[in-house]
Amino acid sequence: SAVISQKPSRDICQRGTSLTIQCQVDSQVTMMFWYRQQPGQSLTLIATANQGSEATYESGFVIDKFPISRPNLTFSTLTVSNMSPEDSSIYLCSVGLSVLNEQYFGPGTRLTVT
């Protein structure tokens, strides 16, 4: 497995502002992912963070709203831009140990937009 940390753990933000969430892994990993978990819901994949190239977004998610960076094999950021109350969710980073397809999750960032 891998040890994954996220910053911040939670935040309360005003609408119209942006928040950048950081994800740090204790070892180099091939694949990193960002998920959203809306209140009372399951997890939905936002995008795959690709090292050295643009992220791959899932249907319904766009780069302008959720820009992602991945400068190396242990770190990634997700920005939630121009926030509205509908963006209030838990945002989760996960990493893939690609050989076995296992994915491990960070503790999540709990975002509330007022």
Binding site: F33, G40, S42, L45, E58, S98, N101, E102, Q103, P107
Partner: protein
């Protein structure tokens, strides 16, 4: 901490009993499945996985059963403990995707002392 799964189906079991959590998956082309446990205020924790070429896999106090005929997955927890109280999610990976997991809606497990 903040709760997740406020409107999820709930399974209530007596401490010491066995628990069975069920999941119906959607795609017959799925070839890999994972069970996750999510405690309040935490990220999902990997419990056990199984590939489509298997029917059963056992871990410590947990067993996953896969019935491909009816596209059904179950997680059995032996001698359920209070620390098992959490929301449990199944996730499937489709054969045509190298990594994308699709999560089920989740089940809340409550363990009565």
């Amino acid at each position: 901490g903040e709760s997740v799964g406020l409107h999820l189906p709930t399974l209530s079991v007596q401490e010491g009993d066995n628990s069975i959590i069920n999941c119906a998956y959607s795609n017959s082309a799925s070839d890999y499945f994972i069970w996750y446990k999510q405690e309040s205020g935490k990220g999902p924790q990997f419990i056990i996985d199984i590939r489509s070429n298997m029917d059963k896999r056992q871990g410590q106090r947990v067993t996953v059963l896969l019935n491909k005929t009816v596209k059904h997955l179950s997680l059995q927890i032996a001698a359920t403990q209070p620390g098992d109280s959490a929301v449990y999610f199944c996730a499937e990976k489709r054969r045509d995707s190298s990594y994308k997991l699709i999560f089920g809606s989740g089940t809340r497990l409550l363990v009565r002392p």
